[in-house]
């Protein structure tokens, strides 16, 4: 099995010409875009979208570190898988809460939900 797979591994083109810092810069920029969306938007669904962007940027970081610094291990891959799973659960719960809030307040703007404010 291993012997059969070996030539396929070596035939792959070597795509390591990009330094790690460039990938990290892309993921940092994506995180900051998500942060900007979270700061400026006041609609709950769009804030949830911004959070998804931030989680995705963290996933890129994990995979890049795993590939460039510890390529013989798989821990970054597992962190990415678990983050994707938990993000799916979080999005489902958040949308259930948003729909419930829309039923009671007729609006999903965060400025309108002020019962607990004072």
């Amino acid at each position: 099995m291993q012997i059969l797979r070996q030539p396929k591994q070596t035939r792959r083109p070597d795509m390591n010409s990009i330094p790690l810092t460039h990938i990290l810069f892309v993921s940092t920029a994506l995180f900051c875009i998500g942060m900007y969306g979270l700061f400026t938007r006041r609609n709950m669904i769009t804030m949830l979208m911004s959070i998804e962007l931030m989680l995705n940027s963290v996933n890129i970081n994990f995979v890049a570190f795993n590939k460039y610094l510890w390529p013989e291990k798989l821990e970054g891959i597992f962190f990415t898988l678990f983050i994707i799973t938990i993000a799916a659960a979080e999005a489902a719960i958040a949308i259930a809460i948003i729909i419930n809030l829309y039923r009671s307040h007729n609006s999903i703007d965060v400025e309108d939900a002020t019962e607990l404010k004072y």
């Binding site: 591994q9 792959r12 795509m15 010409s17 990009i18 330094p19 790690l20 810092t21 460039h22 990938i23 990290l24 892309v26 940092t28 920029a29 994506l30 900051c32 875009i33 998500g34 942060m35 900007y36 969306g37 700061f39 400026t40 938007r41 006041r42 609609n43 669904i45 769009t46 949830l48 998804e52 995705n56 996933n59 890129i60 995979v63 890049a64 590939k67 460039y68 610094l69 390529p71 013989e72 798989l74 891959i77 597992f78 990415t80 898988l81 799973t85 938990i86 799916a88 659960a89 979080e90 999005a91 489902a92 719960i93 949308i95 259930a96 948003i98 729909i99 419930n100 829309y102 999903i108």
Partner: protein
Amino acid sequence: MEAAAIIFYLISAFILGTGILAVTTRKIFRSAIWLLFSLVGIAAMYFWLQVEFIAAVQIIVYVGGIVVLIIFSIFLTQQSGKEMAKPVTRRSLFGALAVVFGLALIYSIIAQYGFAEQATRPFGVTVDAIGTQMLSTTDHGFILPFEVVSMLLLASMIGCIVIAMKNRNTNDPEQQGPAGAKLMIHADFTSTQTDKEA
């Protein structure tokens, strides 16, 4: 510059451009569609990084699941053609300032740290390696987080149903329907009677 580097910069520009459009456009449905493009671009980035399994999971879970869920909730809660209110100028200005300074800070830290320039060893991640380590009970196995996250998914599924379930009316809805109908017939009858009398 090699083809791989050009592809990397194209994918990065695509991700960042569609991400910026997703957080700045004022029509909420377009925002969801730009988010979809950005997530597809991130899946392309995983393909570029040669982690095909993660790319497939990204497409299945995010593009097939979360974005569809978001679009459904937009249709349930909003008039999707309407433009959202413009954000307050002061808030967007200070948000942009905070983001730019944060980006500069993190980038200076990354540039100063001095990571290894290039990957020296080959990185080939096979699906059977992932599966074996995910379900192994030895020292570096991930069986315990796997089980915990499956319980988390079950709990969140039940929680979603409980939270989003429509709260039935407290004063006996089965009784209310026929009674209301009878009352309406009665009202109609009296109105016709009064009409006749008039």
